[in-house]
Structure formats: structure tokens, C-alpha cells
């Protein structure tokens, strides 16, 4: 009895987890102008139709532009945060230096600072620098005004913690005798790094890049304060939701994003499994 109750609880929990995602995805295929019941038949118009009022997502200029900006931002964030994350992993696993524990806590800290605060503090600092440069030299530093560059910096500031933790965990498992053997055989430092250590880290670096890409793609709180005229997808969707209300085209975008995430998740699982065997 107790056992069945427990199992039922687990099932209910997963129904709870899935319910809003199913609702968000399913209404993309309902042949209606609003994402509500009753079901009026299956359609792909909200993806591919090219005329109003049922303008599909692949013909909606603003959504496509948002998707493009999100992609650009997420790619930069993923590259930068994996690079710094890898450096951090070597720094904390391979080296000893004074106050190491303190610096390690500093590294983890960005993860527990609310995203809104990261956003406003970076915005305030960038504007401050841009204003004083403009006043003293008369140059307008466009780069430090809200826009893609600041969004990338803002997201990078906390996503780097995530990639550092992922790559550090992997580097800790590395058997250093493998490197020593290579040195004994006369290999140079650079060569050992390139042919032994980095290939060992590759699955974690790929997984870190995927997680960074997704977290960047989804981010809203930090981005909200740093965004300029090039709005990424989440901001565009939020705008649409507030101004137009819910329309099935948002369901179509949701479905598309869930599909993309599922694909990336699958890749990261495969990459990590590949390495275990």
C-alpha cells in the first residue's frame, strides 16, 4: 500500500513537471486564433503560414531576428565561458596559491547573486565609464551602452561559474600518471596538453558549452537590463506576450525551442556516455 502510494506520488510529480510544457507545446498545432480549448483540428500554420492573421513563426520577421540575436549572443557566451572555465579548472586543480579557498568561493559566488542585480550593476558601471569618457574626451563609446556586447558580458559573468564547475569536476578525475608517462617518453608540455589532457577534458568542455549556450538562450533577468535595440528571443517573446497577449505563434516558438533543447541535451548525454566506455 505504502509502496504504491509512493510510486503514485512520483508519477504525479512528473505529471506536474510536464503539464505546462505540454500545454505550451501542444497549442502550436491547434487550428485556432487563440491558444485555448476546444481543439479545432491539427495545423502547421503557426509555423509555416505566410499571411496574417495566422502568421507562422518562420515568416515572422521580429521573432526570426530575435532568434538570430539569441543565437549570436549564446555562441559568444558559450565560447568565452568555456575558455575561462577551462583556465579556472587548471588554476584550481593543478596549482596552489595563497587564499585558494577564498578565491574558489569568489568563483562560485556569481551563481548565488540574483540575476537582476548582476544586470543592474553591470549596466551602471558600463554607463558610468561611457559617460565619463564622453565628458572628458568627447568620444561616445557605443560598446558600453545597452546592446549585444553588454548582454554577452552580463550572461558570461555568471555562466562562467557553471562551466568552471563542470570542467573542474572532470579535471579532478584525471589520472596524472598518464601525463608523467608521456613526459618520461620525452613529450613536451604543449604536446602533452594537446594530445592527452585536452582530449580527456573534451566531453566536459562540450557539455559545458551546451549548458552555457542553453542558459544564455533562456536568460531573461540579467538580459532585461542590458538589452538594446537588438533584442534576443526571450525578450521579443515577453514583449509580444505583454503587448499582444498570448497567441499560438508563441506556442510554435516554444515547441521549436523545446525541440532544440532536447536535441542539445541528447548530444551532451551522448558525448558524456561515449567517454565513459
Amino acid at each position: 500500500m505504502l509502496r504504491h502510494g509512493y510510486r503514485l506520488y512520483i508519477v504525479l510529480f512528473f505529471v506536474f513537471l510536464a503539464a505546462p510544457l505540454i500545454a505550451a507545446g501542444l497549442f502550436a498545432f491547434n487550428d485556432s486564433l487563440f491558444p485555448v480549448l476546444p481543439w479545432r483540428g491539427f495545423t502547421l500554420d503557426w509555423f509555416f503560414n505566410d499571411t496574417e492573421p495566422k502568421l507562422g513563426m518562420f515568416h515572422d520577421r521580429r521573432l526570426l531576428r530575435g532568434l538570430y540575436y539569441s543565437f549570436v549572443i549564446a555562441s559568444f557566451v558559450a565560447m568565452l565561458s568555456v575558455f575561462v572555465g577551462t583556465c579556472n579548472a587548471f588554476l584550481f586543480v593543478r596549482h596552489d596559491f595563497p587564499a585558494k579557498n577564498f578565491f574558489y568561493i569568489l568563483m562560485v559566488l556569481p551563481l548565488v547573486i540574483p540575476g537582476v542585480i548582476l544586470g543592474i550593476s553591470i549596466l551602471a558601471m558600463a554607463s558610468n565609464i561611457a559617460n565619463s569618457v564622453e565628458r572628458s574626451m568627447g568620444i561616445d563609446l557605443e560598446l558600453l551602452r545597452p546592446g549585444i556586447f553588454l548582454v554577452v558580458l552580463g550572461q558570461f559573468s555568471f555562466i562562467t561559474t557553471i562551466t568552471s564547475l563542470i570542467i573542474t569536476a572532470r579535471l579532478k578525475k584525471f589520472d596524472t600518471t598518464m601525463e608523467e608517462a608521456a613526459y618520461n617518453l620525452g613529450a613536451s608540455k604543449a604536446r602533452v596538453l594537446r594530445t592527452i589532457t585536452l582530449p580527456f577534458l573534451r566531453p566536459a568542455m562540450i557539455a559545458g558549452a551546451i549548458v552555457a549556450f542553453l542558459v544564455s538562450f533562456e536568460n531573461f533577468n540579467t538580459t532585461l537590463f542590458l538589452v538594446g535595440s537588438e533584442a534576443p528571443l526571450t525578450i521579443t517573446m515577453y514583449d509580444r506576450m505583454v503587448k499582444v497577449g498570448s497567441t499560438p505563434v508563441l506556442n510554435a516558438v516554444s515547441f521549436f525551442l523545446m525541440l532544440g533543447s532536447a536535441l542539445l541535451a541528447l548530444i551532451s548525454v551522448l558525448v558524456q556516455r561515449d567517454n565513459k566506455s
Partner: protein
């Protein structure tokens, strides 16, 4: 000589590796926060003329709406943390200790699915389910249980449910990883010594899982107190969440000085709660969050 050269190389590597770390933490975390603190102590007395003082904080303290919102954000977040722990713990325990090896991985992945979907889409899904014309209301009408549509959105219970939904997996993940490391024999020994299920849970399992519980609670509390989308979309205009006040000061009123003060208040308040939680549970930041 060779030894000292190797030492020099090691030193050079340390400096090269430390540089990106130092640039990242100094330029994007420490300096902006110091800047925010300085900004929050400024006050505009005339166009382009500023004076330093605590006026922004005094304004905050004198306006009950502001600190009521802060207290509300804090207490609701604590409730969300507690609920996430109560709901998440059995799930984590099931995944770590009861499920077979094969289902274990699958269940763990299922838990992570919401993580791969943005906050916005999750909140959007809840809106479609819960609003007056939503799925649940129309299903209840169709089944004849109710006559008129019911609005499930825009109340505190829905906001709390939505927040628990968004954060619960950050509770489950650290719990699964600590419970995973626990030897099953410890639980068996507890039963053999005559303990019942409740004593074993209280005396053996919970103390063992404490680092995971604390880590989960810290992350969940911070995420909840810092969240913006879920309270606004599910709670409506009057959700009175503190991040909304910060946005209001910064973007709508363009009063950056006061917005920075609000941001700082939120940061200090949440850090204090986390510090208190660590003290009460006898854990440290490095034994919990930094470990996972």
C-alpha cells in the same frame, strides 16, 4: 638550474591562468558591485549635481510599501524553499535509493527537462492551463463540475506553486548527488538496531543528506527571491515582488541611485538569510554550494 627553470615555468603558468579569472571576477563582479554601492549613496540635488549620503536608504526605510515588499518576497521565498524541500526530498530519495539502475538515469534526466526550457515558456504554459479561459477551467466546465469559468491566475497560491515548479529541480539535483553517496547498509543497520522508518529518516538519512539539503535550500532561496518572470506573469501587476520594484526604479522611473540602493538591500537581505541558514545548520558555503 633545471629545477629553478621548472619552477619559473610553473609560476608563469599560474600567472597566465590567474589572469582571466582575475579579470572576470574583478571587472564583472567586484567592481560593478562596488560601483553599485557608490551609486546607491549618491543623491541628485540639482541636475548634474550629486551629494553623498544615505538618503536613498532612508527613503526605502520610510516607505512601508518598499520594505513590506521586501519582507513579502523574503517570507514567500522561504515558504517556497520549504515546499521545494518537502516535495523534492521524496523524489530525490526515490531516484537515489529505490529506483533500479536503469530507471534511475532516466528519472534523473526527466527531472532536468524543465531546466532546458526557459522560465518564460514554463510560465506561459501555466498561464494557458490556469487562466479563466484556460485548459483546467474549460475542462471543469465541460465535465459539469462548475458553471462559470474560474480564474486560477493572479493569486498568491498560484505564484507560490509557479515558483516551486521553477526551482524544485535545483533542490532535487544536489539531494540526489548526496544521497547517491550514502551506503545502503547505513539504512539497513538503522532498521536492524530497531529503528522504525521515521527514526531512520530523522537520525540517519537527514543528517547524512544535510550538505545537499543546505546547498539546495540556498540555491532555491536565492533563485526564488531573485526571480522576476514567474511572480509577474502568474501574479499579475500586483504581485509585489521586490525585483519588480528594482525594475520600476531603474527602467520606469529612471532613478538609478534609488534602484541601486534597492538592489543592494536585496543583496544584503538575501545574503543575511543564507548566512543565518548556514549558521543554524552548522554548514559552510564551501561544504555545500561550492562542493556541488
Amino acid at each position: 638550474m633545471a629545477g629553478s627553470r621548472a619552477k619559473d615555468a610553473k609560476k608563469l603558468a599560474l600567472i597566465l591562468l590567474f589572469t582571466p579569472f582575475a579579470l572576470w571576477i574583478t571587472l564583472l563582479i567586484l567592481l560593478p558591485h562596488v560601483g553599485m554601492m557608490v551609486l546607491s549613496l549618491k543623491e541628485k540635488v540639482a541636475p548634474r549635481v550629486y551629494e553623498y549620503g544615505f538618503d536613498n536608504y532612508i527613503n526605502f526605510a520610510q516607505e512601508p510599501i518598499y520594505w513590506n515588499t521586501l519582507l513579502r518576497t523574503g517570507s514567500v521565498s522561504l515558504l517556497v524553499t520549504l515546499l521545494a524541500l518537502l516535495i523534492g526530498f521524496p523524489v530525490a530519495y526515490y531516484i537515489a535509493k529505490i529506483a533500479g539502475n536503469r530507471t534511475k538515469g532516466a528519472l534523473f534526466l526527466l527531472c532536468l527537462i524543465p531546466l532546458w526550457v526557459s522560465d518564460l515558456i514554463r510560465a506561459f504554459g501555466w498561464i494557458l492551463l490556469l487562466r479563466e479561459t484556460g485548459v483546467i477551467s474549460s475542462a471543469l466546465q465541460a465535465s459539469g463540475l462548475i458553471d462559470t469559468p474560474i480564474e486560477f491566475l493572479y493569486n498568491d497560491a498560484t505564484v507560490i506553486m509557479g515558483l516551486v515548479y521553477t526551482v524544485v529541480l535545483f533542490m532535487i539535483v544536489p539531494l540526489v548527488s548526496t544521497l547517491d553517496g550514502m551506503d545502503n547498509e547505513m539504512i539497513e543497520a538503522g532498521y536492524n538496531l530497531g529503528g522504525n522508518g521515521f527514526t531512520v529518516l530523522r537520525r540517519i538519512i537527514i543528517p547524512y543528506a544535510m550538505p545537499g539539503i543546505v546547498a539546495g535550500c540556498i540555491v532555491v532561496f536565492m533563485l526564488s527571491a531573485g526571480s522576476y518572470l514567474t511572480p509577474i506573469l502568474l501574479g499579475g501587476k500586483n504581485s509585489s515582488w521586490f525585483t519588480e520594484q528594482i525594475y520600476d526604479q531603474f527602467i520606469s522611473r529612471y532613478n538609478w541611485e534609488s534602484g541601486a540602493a534597492f538592489g543592494f538591500v536585496l543583496l544584503v537581505f538575501t545574503s543575511l538569510v543564507v548566512w543565518l541558514g548556514l549558521k543554524l545548520s552548522g554548514q559552510t558555503l564551501s561544504s555545500t554550494v561550492a562542493k556541488s
